[in-house]
Symmetry: D3
Subunit: 271 residues, 6 copies
């Protein structure tokens, strides 16, 4: 169960309205790696955790924090939209700023949300749960989380570069720092589980059931052998159970498939 | 540019048709972590790579291999659908297998695809590029890839448990082994880049610009302190640049937000 | 069965082409609360009505009218796109109007639809039936309709404010008036049904089967008690069957959940 | 900012696992009118509220409560999936329950989520923010909310009818009672705003700007005049500003549209 | 503008309810090539037609007819759902028909639509305007239409094979016949336009601007030369302007791409 | 199984970067009729082909070629994004080109993809498999393919008109020529199959089972009889099996539908 306090986790006040940047900032609110994604991803992983209480607790801690980040971004976006001008095409002839706003802002911020933040990305695509994952296997999911925080921090940094507003930069410097912590955190959690299990997910599948002769082979399917210089192409495998090897000229191991004709009631092309 | 040979990378022939399993197998063809996802994810990362030729080559190698996995699964699914019976509800009264097929198979396999595989998951959701990522930052993306191969192998293993068909199990044992290699591979590639850069993505953002005082703090936002027992809660941070610390009772640092009224031409609720 | 006449329900002729406004106008054609949404929502409700013929007839009347509104908007958008200039980036250097058009118009209006209206919103998101509802319970659905006409009129009014074109304003003044009628109409229909049933949907569920002790309680889950001043926090409930009461400090009534471990064939994190 | 406690708002424990009902219950977790929808809808409305603090507080109260409902349903679904059998097609021949489970359960509950709840509906469609609305106009939005609670209670009641499990019914009786409160609450809030403004949203648009002669007319676009018997067809309008009137034979007021040919660089069909 | 009469274009009455077939029939109502798709596709093409009035009239004729097909299918589905049993898992143990219904029906037909038809396909995917096209070039679009009627008739025929209900078969025999007409119609319309223009769309692009040396070449990119036996591999081209030729061993004409490094503010992988 | 060579099928090098055109070019990479669509459509059709090896081989040839077109466009887009300026709103006041770029470019090209191409269209909608079709009936599918190449060439031509960059025009002239070939090819393949079967898909359904009296009738559902002048309204039908006839005043053949009330456990509106 949840409780809310009205104070923000951190300040979210721009120096000036800027509807063009408001549109861009939507990316880290409602985009693929925005705060809605991480909040719901961590909470679903937490609710579904069947194992160690330590991980469930940790997932609920961070999922709950991410809800506060959604709130900060929603507040910032609403303020960047403050007094968004009521622009028309003829005015653009006189004023290039108007032209920029006409083009660079999200028309739904005036037509649909009434100067409010939207659960959408910087192109106005509504958020979808296709973005998130909770598999029941925590090592798999912590890797998803490490990725999410890496993509998320990268996007926040790119946005930091695209504004001069000190209020916006201040808030982003908070979110970027939290992403530093969260990358460290998921990395630490992965190391813990890898030490107990193995780096290969799921660790519980008997290795003799997989086709072991191809479990450490790199196939050079694109002409040129620069890929042979990577660590994945030689030496012991990272899981410690094999030796990487490099196949310069990969060949097929299967046959040419030939499918049976469909029964008549399917009305495929007649044979 | 690509070339195709008719032979499959590995065999894809079931012992018997089974339309219910055909539906399930769609998950690793056209689902969130199916072969379409990894193929297009790696290829887009490769095409967009601006840096080291070694990584571009490697991405094209593996992306091209994944196209062969799409092909194997499409072939297997078409064969599992061979002679899918033309079932009606009254027959279910006499035969529970018919009941199971009526319910457990995908009706679009007969109505839409004519006993062919579809670019969709096990619930018939069509594949979407919302599933994939190519950010231009390879460490971020290799983490996405490590996650994809972890989720993908987990799903393949779960499917392996749900069938007795030796032909299907044989093909899955190939794909599972390749996922073992690919997890090792992305792990190795991450280690290479982390050694050159740092574990925090992007490594190029000056740390003094982030709010450093919260860059290694764990906030206990969900009551209970089991999360204090994790490696993320104490000791040196994984990036080697800080010390983890645990905030048992996190407080807000921001104010209660109060938004300005909207201008009249927006027609929000009148103040 | 339907018949069509070529005349529009009302005029749809702008004074001048304006590709930027054409893009914006898409919102009330193919957006969440655009005319496609209300047309199909009312028609599906009508086709599915199992009860009183009066409501079925009325739903078909208004659903059929909304088809005419789709037609008016499609026509207006095509005319706003008339002679959309063939703009290139270099020309923007000389002419801010060109810059505004480059940015503010929908590129698919030239590339995809050939200067025609699209079944999409002002950000180019294609219309989806996720927007609509027909539940078989008319009181529930008439509330959905009252909402749709409220959101729709709000958006039309906001668009009215964003243009000076007298032709566009004339057409919008028609649509806005029809939305006035439709809000009145759904409100009247709700009152009729509420008088016969009760305000709580569905009225047919025996009240003794719900957890009656919490059926009129307001929980103050966000710190601060301003919400205690609303009519929902005290006095008789609107359905006339209870008394509102306000819980200042809500507590959980359930336990801490603890989930059983998954069976081994699921390959979740090992316990 | 948010805080979480581990206890559930109310109990969520079934008597027995039932993977088929787990699938169905997903509807009110991740469907169009599930708990994710109401939680995020109310929170976004709260964050975007520019007006009266009473409404903002109330929206945050109820949005925060809905997060607890997501949690209860996620927990219940995970428990209904407990020990979901590892079913295969041959077993269906012997056991109709197996047949029912094969068909009636969601294959992603075993393959993708590892016996966990998913952010998806009863057909496995992932949740999308297309379902929600926050317009900045609270009367419009409270109508959206009244509709959401009406649809949501209706679905919960239908699910209540489809199970005999006393644990599930107990939890549903809680959610149904809360929906009773929430319908009462949104109704009360609408009455408050309607008393201050007018029933027509937005109330701030000058009525003389709309085409007043058609603002209270019902058009009989579907043959048959049963719709003339409804309250919307005669008498004073609900907004108190006009008289309803009924047009038995509606005619078009506009012309036959004729579009100009496209410029040659568009390559539409040559005239 | 549209008018509606209550009578159906043709009968839509099943002999018996059958919720499993109701689910399947959704495919041709709300699927990719269902009646919603063709209705809206033809209407949008009609509204956007800038050229010959004959085509606009014809598009409005057939688009309006398709609305009647939506209506017939919606009616049939509601009747197939009549009295859909209120099934539970335990009953499946006793009755395989119950098992089949539990699995083979769409749970949203009871939970969401209250025994009504939905704007969705046989897997419960909601209809989306991604399915339709109106490009402004009528020859292109008439080919889209010919395809839609081909896919649509194929699906209707497959459904015809999957039922014994004489009422359903009677209605399908109507729809199948109309699809026969519509395939003939679009074929005729294509021939008319091809005779005036050329078979290559758009016919208005000067041929000397395309890379003419590869405009009639077939590339054998998949090993094996069976494709050389097709009419596309030799002889005069269908457009009458060239000679087909077959390249057995296609080679690349471009260079190996090498992308410039990104500027530092993008934070891609450091070079 | 596939192989890749690093060289492009044809050159993909612009004269100058142009982020606005990069956004537009996304349409034919990741839009409804972009190269991802045709590649996956042809490959799935090929993998699912149960009939003549000639068609399977041909489909694999062209599907494999389309992968090379994805690659060319991805490369071109990355180069058009080279050194995309780091623009801010204040700069727009001084420089209309900046205004145009702010509005006309895709913000995700800097925030999300790091100056890389995306699997999305010109409005940033991610690619979806809703765009493609593989039905098992090759005549139906070849018509889908003929449409896809018609729409695709039309879009490429429109883009050709919107740029002056000689590098971009050169690449487009290649793609346009290939689309010329592909339209010819699918047309030839259709003629082959039509000669063997009949123009009506599927040809295998016995004509006496369809309602033959309406199989060649044109219904004039939209007032006005211009449509009577088309070839579809008189003379022998294209399939050679009937005579077209024109119904000037179409009437319904069915009854007014009246649906039974729902059972009480559905809680529809009480009768
Ligand atoms: Ca965050
Ligand atoms: Ca793979
Ligand atoms: Ca309307
Ligand atoms: Ca609730
Ligand atoms: Ca039809
Ligand atoms: Ca191509």
């Amino acid at each position: 169960m949840f409780y809310h306090v009205k104070e923000l986790q951190y300040h979210a006040k721009p120096e000036c309205p800027d509807p063009v940047f408001a549109r861009k900032l939507q990316e880290i609110l409602g985009g693929q790696f925005g705060e809605i994604s991480v909040a719901l991803q961590y909470l679903f992983q937490g609710w579904n955790t069947r194992g160690d209480g330590k991980y469930r607790d940790m997932l609920m801690d961070i999922g709950t924090e991410e809800l506060a980040h959604i709130e900060m971004l929603a507040t910032m976006i609403a303020r960047l939209l403050d007094g968004a001008p009521d622009v028309e095409l003829d005015e653009a002839a006189k004023n290039p700023i108007v032209a920029a706003i006409l083009g660079g802002s999200n028309p739904q911020h005036t037509i649909v949300s009434g100067l409010g933040a939207m659960p959408a990305d910087s192109n106005g695509n509504r958020w979808t749960a296709d973005y998130i994952i909770a598999s029941g296997n925590l090592l798999a999911d912590f890797r998803a989380n490490l990725n999410a925080e890496s993509q998320g921090r990268l996007q926040a940094v790119r946005l930091y570069e695209q504004t001069d507003d000190r209020g916006v930069k201040d808030m982003l410097s908070w979110l970027i720092a939290r992403d530093t912590m969260h990358q460290n955190q998921w990395y630490a959690a992965c190391l813990e589980l890898e030490a107990k299990e193995n780096i290969v997910v799921p660790s519980t599948f008997p290795r003799e059931l997989e086709k072991q002769e191809v479990a450490y082979t790199f196939y050079n399917n694109s002409a040129g052998t620069k890929s042979a210089k990577g660590r994945w192409a030689y030496g012991p495998s990272i899981d410690g159970l094999g030796q990487f090897n490099y196949f310069e000229n990969p060949v097929p191991f299967g046959d040419k498939p030939k499918l049976n004709p469909a029964p008549p009631y399917i009305h495929d092309t007649p044979p």
